[in-house]
Symmetry: D2
Amino acid sequence: MVQATPFLLVLFLALGAHGLSAKKVQSGWDAQGRVGCTGGCGCRLCCGTSAEFSPLQCNLVGRWVNDLGSNMTITSVNANGAFGGSYHTAVTATSNEIKVSPLQGSMQKSPNQKGQPTFGFTVNWKFSESVTVFTGQCFVDDDGKEVLKTMWLLRSHVEDIKNDWKATR
Amino acid sequence: MVQATPFLLVLFLALGAHGLSAKKVQSGWDAQGRVGCTGGCGCRLCCGTSAEFSPLQCNLVGRWVNDLGSNMTITSVNANGAFGGSYHTAVTATSNEIKVSPLQGSMQKSPNQKGQPTFGFTVNWKFSESVTVFTGQCFVDDDGKEVLKTMWLLRSHVEDIKNDWKATR
Amino acid sequence: MVQATPFLLVLFLALGAHGLSAKKVQSGWDAQGRVGCTGGCGCRLCCGTSAEFSPLQCNLVGRWVNDLGSNMTITSVNANGAFGGSYHTAVTATSNEIKVSPLQGSMQKSPNQKGQPTFGFTVNWKFSESVTVFTGQCFVDDDGKEVLKTMWLLRSHVEDIKNDWKATR
Amino acid sequence: MVQATPFLLVLFLALGAHGLSAKKVQSGWDAQGRVGCTGGCGCRLCCGTSAEFSPLQCNLVGRWVNDLGSNMTITSVNANGAFGGSYHTAVTATSNEIKVSPLQGSMQKSPNQKGQPTFGFTVNWKFSESVTVFTGQCFVDDDGKEVLKTMWLLRSHVEDIKNDWKATR
């Protein structure tokens, strides 16, 4: 269903503002173990024989690309669900040169999430006076591919509290 | 401009959905050193003699209460702007018992923020299958009081990607 | 911890972005008949003796002022719930001179709304290339005063569909 | 003004929550005369010889289908930009039977919109106690096809103003 391609396979989706879909970048080892869960014994995360294992498993760790061409890497999630990573945006509301920026976030670890966890994270932009928060859920779609569905808010710095009303888009 | 009150003075504000104001809980030492910057020598953060120092300084670290009665404590901010803390909400969209929940976030540290930094954080709810992201800015208002202006998105878990469209409020 | 002040002082409060509260402008006849519903026989809208009349009744028609100082007048609501009016904003994201602008909207007329109807409307700005949509509910608060709770989206014109992602705040 | 078209060509797009793309239902004459403006003399709206005519022209009037499968018909726009129509949603947050519902809106008519106007409208749901507002822009995409890019807020009725904070998604 999902072949492990050694190079990047990137699909861009049309989407509305403030809503984003991100697809996992499928490279060798990454796809094998997880995406679509057809990998036999290597399928650590999703294919338990026990009934309490969910057949679906979406794992935030990895590299993601969204419909605007932005790239995100989530490096690890700790036992409490806290995670870090980096975000390389393809678009900007400023004229500054884009730089890779760090992100800090947190995901739900409860079994009630049934392998499709909700999460949120903050990107601290290194080339502008803004931050963006994303929140969403990691899904396994009908084709067995992992996909993130997120919404975001971009907060710009304003000099005066009187301008607060227009600082978020 | 701002007197350091030894006890708490907490005002609740009416506000619209998705926009929140939080006021800092002002106790002895906390207000002295920082709020309004009238504290003389103790005014570590804001009162440099050099022109490049801003007269305003809003510090995220501390305890905050918002207009709905929710309490938040931010314990520390590291050199990169990452911070942690806890959130005790006064309202919930579920019928579960409310529990204090951890938060992970990040703030801008650049001098261009002029002492009124933008920030974002994620609350990982310990009593529901949801997360909330907040983003906003820490302001010093006309009375010299520190105030947070934030917006939030609450993401609920859904079983099926088909219901993603209604999972965020 | 919080000292009780003997008299209420109710003014307009600063509030977070995207959420707005509007209070009805209380002038002679306007307040008499409706606000707080203490007007005796004149209390046409709220004080029926029949059990099927709700004790609460918030009427969109009238003049409203919100926390940013903007003024809105809703002139009439037809049998289907469609309404028109005008909006005089106190704030703008442009440098153009502010002009009063028309609005078009619609409210729920069902008895299930129990006198506190939900509604939405569009403001077609006469001094900028933008529109704003508001949606909210007309409430009677604990003091018997009519109050609108709304959220809004401001849509700016962009030249190219590639910039759509940043056109809404 | 818009006649029933013999053949529907409907494309569904993946999209994030709160952001929607809608494609115009493209049939014979409809596409010929307007979309992409390749239709020669029939090209009433877009192909003036005068320089002040924009080469792009997106017309709200017509039938639209979005990525969730919802259908919308905008019947006419008056001289001030006010318009009406109907909305047949494919998804609902309630368990009620879906019914076609009326919409009221307004669009920018200024030449500065360059044929790609911004607009907003309110849908007054006939099967639930809610309203939805949409705002967006009508674009001509790179293939010359008319497309709407919108964002929305869904407002539910709540019994008590204390629950206002969670009434909008």
